[in-house]
């Protein structure tokens, strides 16, 4: 499979999964009688995601956000593997640079 097709599929699957989870989250929210939900922060976000399986509306929506944010990151990682397979050193370095900055953003967010 060529790189264009791989990227295209992974982006499409990521967005559709996220939109579907958001919809399920909104339906779960309606089922609670539109309970007042506020934004979680820090480790509260990861904790809330853990409650998604139990049908917690905020948990489902945070899971949707996590899937969405992971989608372009996954796309970059996928490209790194693809370029590595083609022994295209320049683009392995370029995609690795982007990937390491993204990882930094994610972890600085978690700890901060």
């Amino acid at each position: 499979m060529d790189l264009n097709r791989l990227i295209s599929y992974s982006l499409r699957v990521g967005v559709l999964t996220s939109a579907l989870l958001s919809l399920v989250g909104l339906i779960a929210w309606a089922a609670t009688g539109y309970a007042d939900l506020s934004a979680a922060s820090g480790s509260g976000v990861t904790g809330t995601i853990g409650s998604a399986a139990g049908g917690n509306p905020a948990g489902l929506i945070y899971l949707a956000v996590a899937v969405l944010v992971a989608t372009p990151v996954f796309r970059v990682a996928l490209s790194t593997f693809y370029f590595a397979r083609d022994r295209d050193k320049r683009y392995v370095l370029i995609t690795l640079a982007v990937l390491s900055m993204l990882t930094f953003a994610l972890f600085s967010g978690v700890s901060g």
Partner: protein, 285 residues
């Protein structure tokens, strides 16, 4: 304390379909439409508007990029190279945003919109650049490309020039993006086209491709900071993802000049409202 009810959710959903549609068409994330709507119309506090917007930008971008990458309209190599600057900028911007007062954000955003307005109106002249000599970076990285121009039924080949300048501008666009919760597309598209001489459709498609990564970097910062409100964000994700699918079908036919001018004038009006709000002058919408 922000309370969003079911009726607001429906309105946000409808507006975000339009934002996703326009975003996909013009190579933007749609944040420049979503942020004024959430702050000026719905009265959402700026940090929550920015947090929700930046998440939806990831959705607009990924949804439209899926189509443009499949159709080989996106210059993947150029996009990946410019992402180095864009992501570094986005991280800088997301951290600096905590230090800036809300009023400054409103004014900055208004100024960005005014800039976007002039670009939109000027972009009528952007077409198919010819006799472009690639620079050393472009040659080294193999950035030249080609795409199928459906409105002309022809394959257009193009070269990329002044790549370092575009990378430099991309870093600053990334900062603006992280600060204001937009993707930065409003800067990437004209820079790629006017500086690096890339055909406007390829510039739009490549911009859509890049802003997903830029926005993901800032979105994770906003998410853990507690600025992503679930009920505000869910309808945005659904709406823009759907709107973007519709928008990608339209780009193949060149957007008419009048649409661009109308869009430009609309942006001008919003930008003035945002600046007035920044100076604490009450704005009623």
């Amino acid at each position: 304390m922000l309370v969003v009810g079911p009726s607001e959710v429906i309105v946000i959903l409808l507006v975000s379909v339009v934002a996703g549609f326009i975003g996909a068409m013009f190579g933007l994330g749609g944040g420049i439409l979503i942020i004024p709507f959430l702050t000026l119309v719905e009265g959402v506090p700026v940090p929550l508007a920015v947090g929700a917007s930046i998440v939806s930008v990831v959705a607009t971008s990924s949804s439209s990029a899926a189509t443009y990458v499949r159709d080989h309209l996106t210059n993947i190599r150029l996009g990946m190279f410019l992402e180095i600057g864009a992501v570094a900028g986005a991280i800088t911007g997301a951290f600096v945003s905590v230090l800036l007062p809300t009023a400054a954000l409103f004014i900055l955003f208004g100024m960005l919109l005014l800039y976007a307005t002039t670009v939109m109106i000027r972009s009528r002249k952007m077409d198919f650049p010819s006799s472009v000599i690639p620079d050393r970076t472009a040659t080294l990285l193999g950035l030249s490309g080609q795409y199928e121009e459906q409105s002309k039924n022809a394959v257009v080949k193009y070269e990329v020039t002044r790549t370092p300048v575009t990378l430099f501008v991309t870093y600053f666009a990334g900062i603006v993006s992280g600060l204001l919760g937009v993707g930065g597309g409003i800067i990437y598209v004209p820079t790629m086209n006017l500086v690096s001489k890339i055909p406007v459709k390829v510039a739009s498609a490549t911009s859509n491709f890049m802003i997903g990564v830029t926005a993901a970097a800032s979105a994770s910062v906003y998410l853990f900071r507690g600025d992503v409100d679930p009920i505000l964000t869910a309808p945005l994700i659904i709406g823009v993802a759907g709107g973007a699918i519709l928008g990608t079908r339209i780009l193949k036919l060149t957007p008419p000049t009048r649409v661009k001018i109308a869009f430009g004038l609309w942006l001008a009006a919003i930008s003035i409202l945002m600046i007035l709000r920044g100076f604490n002058i009450p704005v009623v919408l």
